[in-house]
């Protein structure tokens, strides 16, 4: 499967500019991904998925992102929701996959003020939920919601809440300068009832048995998605950085300066490509190591401790930093000739920076929290 993803790089790259202009991944790309089974890598086997280790997301992302960061982002975001659904309550899994095991789920976050309130037997949702990467292709949305405490004065409870696409309308508000092709639009809900069994508190997904473990006994469904699963954002960043390096290597290998000196022989250019290459290799090794460490703990029947979870979150954010630094390091080598709207490197430059703004890979936030936890202070983020 990794080989097939690699084979798709040229065609993804050829479609990437159109995806950006259309603010949507081309349907033919989506269909190819679906046909290859990319979205099913972490879906439970009982619903026809592969149930593969989380490292597979990194390995596929490292390939697909070389062609088109936005397409890769849609791959990883839809694939990760199939994993998270596998950890959800068995009834919720049955609702989504019972009649259609190929059903796909996007997610969203209430940055524009979407609210839920408690109701008899569930929640009522109203307003906008944003950043619904994959919404163009999804049959459901697994919204992040903050449920007011029962007493009214405690902190709200963070949950995932599943709604079918008939329950929301899509608001076309994605005009980002980076990852434009993801079409990560908002959804609007108007007085939508969400039954309790389609919601799951994130505290049930902190590693160790999840609600879904009752029907999906594999180790994968005992790995904490909110700390380890942030690979969903790092994997595309890794792929994008690899693609950017490959472009520069190809370009410089045949290019001369205005003084007719081969660019490839300039020591400053050499140090840039060497350091970018080492940064990217280090990011990839770190991401895969965390995946295998987490899987090893789950396979041994263990539960990751706070220090593990904090380290994975930190390393994941740092891997994205390494990718961003690598792309920034290479940027001067593009030269003024690269300043065109369709330049592939500059699209990757925009995309990797957009990816790095996702909150779970934001270095400023994750580094402070990781440092606090190393010093024995309480986590600022209850989801770590």
């Amino acid at each position: 499967m990794v080989d097939r993803a690699r084979d798709m790089i040229p065609v993804l790259r050829a479609r990437a500019r159109d995806a950006e202009l259309d603010r949507a991944v081309p349907r033919e790309t989506f269909e190819q991904f679906a046909e290859e089974g990319f979205f099913r890598i972490h879906q439970p086997e009982r619903f026809g998925g592969f149930g593969w280790d989380i490292g597979m997301m990194v390995r596929l992302g490292a390939e697909l992102g070389q062609g088109c960061g936005s397409s890769c982002w849609i791959f990883s975001n839809l694939a990760v929701q199939n994993w998270i659904l596998g950890m959800n309550r068995p009834e919720a899994q049955e609702d989504v996959w019972g009649s259609d095991p190929l059903a796909l789920v996007a997610s969203s976050f209430p940055t524009q003020g979407g609210k839920v309130e408690r109701a008899e037997g569930g929640l009522i949702a109203n307003g906008l939920w944003s950043f619904a990467s994959g919404v163009d292709f999804a049959d459901w949305n697994n919204m992040q919601v903050f449920v007011p405490s029962e007493s009214g004065d405690g902190p709200p409870e963070h949950r995932f809440a599943l709604v079918p696409k008939s329950d929301y309308e899509i608001v076309d508000d994605w005009f980002s300068p980076g990852l434009a092709g993801t079409g990560s639009r908002s959804i609007r809900l108007d007085n939508v009832f969400i039954p309790e069994h389609r919601t799951v508190p994130s505290t049930k997904l902190m590693g160790g048995p999840s609600p879904g473990s009752a029907i999906n006994p594999g180790a994968l469904y005992r790995v904490p998605p909110l700390t380890l699963g942030t690979k969903v954002f790092a994997a595309p960043a890794l792929g994008i950085a690899k693609g950017a390096l490959a472009l520069i290597e190809d370009d410089l290998s045949g290019r001369n300066t205005v003084g007719n000196a081969p660019m490839a022989e300039l020591p400053t250019a050499q140090v840039r490509v060497a350091e970018a290459g080492a940064e990217i290799d280090a990011a990839e090794a770190l991401l895969l190591k965390d995946c295998s460490d987490a899987m090893a703990i789950a396979e041994a029947g263990g539960v990751p401790v706070l220090d593990d979870r904090a380290r994975w979150r930190r390393n994941n954010a740092f891997a994205v930093q390494l990718c961003v630094r690598a792309v920034e390091r290479l940027n001067p080598l593009v030269g003024a000739r690269g300043l065109t709207p369709e330049n592939d490197f500059l699209r990757m430059f925009r995309d990797v920076h957009a990816a790095s703004l996702q909150i779970t890979v934001s270095w400023d936030i994750q580094s402070v929290n990781a440092g606090r936890i190393r010093f024995g202070l309480p986590s600022l983020d209850p989801r770590v």
Binding site: E249, L252, S253, A264, E265, P267, A269, Q270, V271, V273, A274, E275, G277, A278, E279, D281, A282, A283, E284, A285, L286, L288, K289, S292, A296, R311, R314, N315, A317, F318, A319, L322, D364, Q366, S367, V368, N369, A370, G371, R372, R374, F375, G376, L377
Partner: protein, 399 residues
């Protein structure tokens, strides 16, 4: 395999057991480190623990009682030992690596060293101060000073790096084994870092070295010495001079971890002059987070490259110039990351850290010394890798 193990060995420790044993040494070597630095040599007890624990035998052929374990095992042990004392990890790595290198020499050379003493240890050395060899009938004759003989205090042999003049001009790089009766140790190791390695020089006066104790490293890189060595295990197919063996980056990662340990311990309990806990300072939190991430990334990178090298050894293919250039680049980069981590932590030690027995400051001195080793030199290995990345012919003769 994720555990980095090679073929199962009868009776000896496995990867996890040896790494656990290394963890058991961390505190012991830390407690000795300041004294060892003053003495400019390790404690004999440290050497004996490494010898008796079988650590030096990690890459020695099973035929002589060695463990034939992976580069990964060697790396992970060095990291754990180096966390306590960089110099101890350095001596472990250097002696263990020489066992791996002698494993590539002729069967007769291996017998000379190990047939009667499977605890024999080798140091190595480099003619930085002008030691010379000349060709003679049946071998070479060595004269002069060879330096940086890390482990010389404990070694029974020295596997010297020599540049043998070629008939048509130029030189060929070889490793050449001499017993300790053939050289005199010169106590000239007064380095500001890795002080306790006691990496002194040796002086040779007209010493004959027979051909069978010499290993042509270019031939070894090409896999042309495997038949004569009679060592066919996967680790011997990916020789240390390919850059697959993390002789120096393992201790370096350990030193950085030791530095981070010292800061985390110190800051978790310390208040600033205004009585505010240092651990609540956002800038301090970001420093330990970045240092921790850098160190773990460096370690993950080295583990991955070790695992790849082992896979190559297992399928039995020879290494390519690309393999070697990227291994060397990543190896040096792991050093860059670890030095950066220690430099990021440095301001947190405060003026109170400016004392001779500070664990952090020793790690700081050690890591800056360790990354001077030519295999850790980013400036060199970045260029070699870039030449490959950009389609040029490598300019480094060791590529």
């Amino acid at each position: 395999m994720a555990d980095g193990s090679t073929s199962p060995k009868t009776g000896g420790p496995d990867h996890f057991e040896l790494v656990e044993m290394a963890k058991g040494l961390t505190e012991t070597v830390r407690s000795r480190a300041a004294d060892a630095e003053k003495n400019r040599r390790l404690h004999r007890e440290t050497h004996e623990a490494l010898l008796d624990g079988g650590f030096y035998k990690v890459q020695m052929p099973a035929r002589y009682g060695g463990l034939e374990m992976s580069h990964r095992t060697m790396l992970d042990c060095a990291v754990e030992i180096g966390r306590g004392c960089g110099s101890s990890a350095w001596i472990f790595s250097n002696i263990a690596a020489q066992n791996g290198i002698v494993s590539m020499a002729s069967r007769r050379a291996q017998d000379d060293v190990w047939a009667d003493n499977d605890n024999a240890c080798m140091a190595s050395s480099f003619p930085a101060k002008g030691g010379k060899v000349v060709r003679v009938e049946g071998g070479i004759v060595a004269n002069g000073v060879w330096s940086f003989a890390s482990g010389v205090d404990w070694a029974d042999w020295n596997n010297m790096q020599v540049f043998v003049p070629r008939d048509g001009g130029g030189v060929a790089h070889h490793m050449a084994l001499v017993p300790k009766s053939d050289y005199r140790v010169i106590d000239d190791w007064n380095s500001p870092g890795l002080v306790a390695t006691g990496s002194r020089s040796i002086e040779l006066d007209n010493v004959f070295i027979p051909e069978h104790r010499m290993l042509n490293t270019a031939e070894a890189r090409k896999g042309a010495t495997i038949e004569a060595s009679e060592n066919f295990g996967p680790i011997f197919r990916v020789p240390p001079m390919c850059g697959a063996n993390k002789i120096f980056s393992g201790p370096v990662i350990g030193m950085a971890r030791g530095a981070l340990d010292a800061i985390e311990r110190d800051l978790s309990a310390r208040n600033n002059v205004a009585g505010i806990p240092m651990a609540t300072l956002t800038t301090a939190q970001m420093r330990v987070a970045e240092a921790g991430a850098l160190i773990e990334a460096a370690w993950a990178l080295m583990q991955r490259d070790c695992d790849v090298a082992l896979e190559i050894g297992k399928i039995g293919r020879l290494t390519t110039v690309e393999d070697r250039a990227f291994w060397r680049r990543n190896n040096a980069y792991a050093g860059v990351m670890c030095v950066k981590a220690v430099d990021i932590l440095h301001p947190l030690i405060g003026a109170r850290g400016l004392k001779p027995d500070s664990d952090f400051m020793r790690a700081y001195r050690d890591i800056h010394a360790a990354t001077m080793q030519i295999n850790m030199a980013w400036d060199r290995h970045a260029i070699s890798a870039a030449e490959i990345q950009l389609g040029l012919t490598p300019s480094d003769p060791r590529a």
